[in-house]
């Protein structure tokens, strides 16, 4: 039974996408419901199964690896799937208003959205390098049109740049896969390990280097982040949320998989984690500073993503159970918080008509709920308690401390200060009053506005709650720590 859950996670959205292509309104609704609402239900069952049975493989078509393609589910995958379900689901609910079924926009939006969901689910479950390539391409090709749905010149330009670099990234990755296949005779992530341990030579390391660069490009890691800010900032709100919270994480997820699971512990290529850490540190600082320099709300949030991704790479050299917890929790809390912020930003943009920081005065009057969601998300991003982000930062610092990485510690701290800088810059802009004596104007928020704000708030509250519910989550996560990281 549990394995059918995996199938459901991939194929329900996929078939849902097929349904939404059909022209009827009911088919779209049915497709969306089948593809999105079912996910949390499946995941509850899956979570119980994972807790009960631990990680397991599922061979598609009954063809065992290395011949066939396997699915693999473990706590990390489970975490990512949950994020897809929750963040994707809430973002979809938010999108429901702007992209109603039956309208031309809705007809264009939902199939892509469901394909994106299916692609991410497939990606997080796949255990096959080439299959992952297909998944990555599907993610890219589903995500970029969604960016372009905004229709503005900036969004088109951003989509184009994203597309070109994503294609470059995919191809670089594919080249690596080709080399690896030849060197190991298999495409399975987990079978490969044994062969890799036996083989050595420049080919596998070049292959991993290629894969790394491909993933770093897709994951928008400094200095290869250049496509991200505009793409994320110019997309429609729910799309931005999913892009920042989930899509870029796919690449990071694969880096984790490859370096922590596939690569043997003693492989010299493990040295690349130091490079990742350096890049992560640079991203943290650079992204933070750039976020401080932005004049538009969504760009600030987008650069914040660049910075926050740095945390995820910084963890790699630490190799401890704490570091593992830190990485998982950062994945989760950043996802929730960032999605909340983008949804809130979309509401603000909608209400104000501009997301230039200079135009955002008196937001606490105009869009109080969205601002609140934005602020709560910001709290988590800054890593201030009580929030999931705080716990993640705490774990990161603790992990860095345990390993005696002082420089890393410094960078982490600096990064969080920069984050505080840009978050509070937004809030300051939002609370500003052009004329302090001016009387309040009771602009009522429309019911729709309230509902839309409610979605952002929901995610923000989840990010907040993550600050309290860590113990059970981490208990599950701990069981999935990669080999070598679980030792106390």
């Amino acid at each position: 039974m549990p394995s059918e859950l995996l199938i459901g996670l991939i194929f329900l959205p996929l078939l849902g996408a097929c349904l939404t292509v059909l022209p009827w309104r009911w088919s779209t609704r049915l497709g969306v419901f089948a593809g999105l609402v079912s996910l949390p239900v499946l995941l509850v069952a899956l979570t119980l199964a994972v807790i009960r049975e631990g990680a397991w493989y599922y061979s598609l078509g009954g063809w065992t690896a290395p011949l066939g393609i396997r699915l693999f589910v473990d706590p990390l995958a489970l975490l990512m799937l949950w994020m897809v379900a929750i963040i994707g689901g809430v973002a979809a609910a938010h999108a429901w208003h702007d992209f109603r079924p039956g309208t031309p926009e809705g007809a264009r939006f939902w199939p892509l959205w469901l394909l994106l969901t299916a692609a991410m689910n497939a990606l997080f479950l796949s255990a096959d390098l080439f299959n992952l390539y297909v998944c990555l391409e599907l993610v890219t090709l589903a995500a970029i049109p969604l960016i372009a749905m905004a229709g503005t010149a900036t969004s088109i330009r951003a989509a184009m740049r994203y597309l070109l670099l994503a294609l470059l990234a995919s191809l670089v990755y594919l080249l690596g896969v080709a080399l690896l296949y030849n060197a190991t005779g298999t495409l399975d992530l987990y079978l490969m390990t044994q062969t890799l341990a036996a083989s050595d030579g420049p080919a596998t390391s070049l292959a991993f280097a290629l894969i790394a660069v491909g993933l770093l490009l897709k994951g928008a890691v400094f200095p290869l982040h250049v496509w991200l800010p505009n793409a994320h900032a110019s997309a429609p709100g729910p799309v931005s949320a999913v892009l920042s919270a989930l899509v870029v994480k796919t690449a990071v997820y694969l880096v984790y998989r490859l370096w922590l699971w596939t690569l043997p512990a003693e492989d010299p290529m493990q040295g690349a984690v130091e490079l990742f850490a350096v890049l992560g540190a640079a991203a943290l600082i650079y992204g933070g500073i750039l976020a401080l320099l932005q004049e538009r709300l969504k760009l600030v949030i987008a650069y914040s993503t660049v910075a926050q991704l740095g945390y995820l790479l910084l963890v790699l050299p630490l190799a401890s159970v704490t570091a593992w917890q830190a990485a998982s929790y950062q994945l989760l809390s950043h996802g929730l918080a960032k999605a909340a912020m983008f949804l809130a930003a979309a509401n603000i943009l909608h209400a104000v008509g501009s997301d230039r920081l200079a135009d955002l005065e008196r937001l606490d009057q105009r869009t109080p709920l969205s601002l609140f969601a934005l602020a709560l998300g910001g709290v988590s991003i800054m890593g201030l308690p009580p929030s999931g982000g705080f716990l993640a930062k705490w774990l990161l610092l603790e992990a860095a401390w345990q390993e005696g990485r002082w420089l890393l510690l410094f960078v982490l701290v600096l990064g969080s200060l920069l984050a505080a800088g840009y978050v509070f810059r937004i809030l300051a802009a939002a609370l500003r009053r052009a004329d302090p004596t001016e009387a309040e104007d009771a602009e009522g928020t429309s019911p729709i506005g309230r509902r839309q704000a409610g979605y952002a708030l929901l995610l923000a509250l989840l990010a907040l709650l993550a600050g309290f519910g860590a113990a059970p989550i981490l208990e599950v996560i701990d069981a999935g720590a990669p080999a070598g990281w679980s030792a106390p």
Partner: protein
Amino acid sequence: MNFGWQALPLYVVLISVVTAMLIFALGEGRQHVRTTLNLGGAILKLALIMLMLLAIQSGASFEFRMSLLPGLDLVLHADRLTMLFATLSAMLWLITTVYAIGYLEQSPNRARFFGFFSLCVAATMGVASAGNLFTFFIFYELLTLATWPLVVHRGTPEAFAAGRLYLAYTLVGGVLVLIGLIWLHALAGGSDFIVGGSLAPLAAGNENALRTIFVLLMLGFGVKAALLPLHSWLPRAMVAPAPVSALLHAVAVVKAGAFGLVRLVQDVFGFDLAASLGLADVLAWLAAATVIYGSVLALRQSDLKRRLAYSTVSQVSYIALGVATGGMLATVGGLVHLVHQGLTKITLFFCAGNYAEGLGVHSIEELDGLGQRMPVTSVCFTLGAFGMIGIPPLAGFVTKWYLGAGAVAAGAPWIIAVIVASTLLNAAYFLPLVHRLWFRPLPEAMAERALAIRGGRMQALVGPTVVVAAMALLAGLFAGTPGSPLFWVIRMVGGES
């Protein structure tokens, strides 16, 4: 986790959180509901605290524990120190709320204001009842968050500049605490506050680590406590409305920092360990320097609230000074100042607010002759000023008495020089104000200016002022009475060390 009777500290914190949320949800209109909520929350909280106080008197103990991370618990408990701070904040919150309702009448963004106001108090309660450093830190940072909107409440460029500075300082301070905390966690695990310190068994071999940790935490808490090189945010934060300044200075932010220092010395390191590592001296010197420096700078301010702010810089360090001096007497002096400074300073800020609201008076020069226009406020101000100087029988005297005696008893007579010098400086910057109030002629323009507070507003503004002034007076006058802050502190220190 235990959500029953034992979790009372949690509920005390939650009351304010819920109040805040309801206020946010209520929005800008519905003034009466909001007022009812505000006062209801404050009174309920005070009642709960009184209940806890009684229970603790009769030997009960409270603890709420919840695992946040493996090996790290969120602990809320209630020891005597908690109750001291919690009672003070709850009481002053109630009074300040009344005051703020009057103060902000007709001004915009009240929902936001009162929401964050409540949140701020929730954080303060959390700080008070935190049972370990980790929990303390959580609420400490929450406090930063909740205060910032209050600091920038006016929405003017100066307010934002002040807010920026405030954040820069407090966030960096938070980071320092965080680092220290992580280090400590690595050394000692999630150590709870234990009277006399929980680190003593670790001391051997870890001296330098512990020293560094102490300094990190000290600087971190020192930011909010406005210790010497870290104080500049405080005067700038004066752009906030008067109730905020009052709360900031008397109850919440600054006190949280000072309270952190107390916890650090008393319950984390323990005074003996801190002293044997030479750390208590460091803190004492720093605090002493702050005491003097703050006073000297206060002398140079011509804006009333800024002068009060620098006075706070100076006065709050008494707390740290007392605790760092060690010994029963000085500790009593330091801890009791937690309450005394709160009462006195809130009086002064209320008065400053009354002057500002009533006659638009902000600078010291404008105080001339106001004793005639606003006699009650001026009497309260005078009482507050005398309390700050430490003139008996006001509360400030009791503090200084114990501090001074404690300094000698602890073999650090140089501290007397600090206290005396500070007293003189206090007098030097407060007495001219009193002089202006009572002995300068009232300028024509001021005599003709209409008093902007009257009617119900008058009661809401002057009433709390009188109440806190009376409390500041009575806390000193009846210091020997059972139930007075001094009495409580003496029992606490005497019973525990």
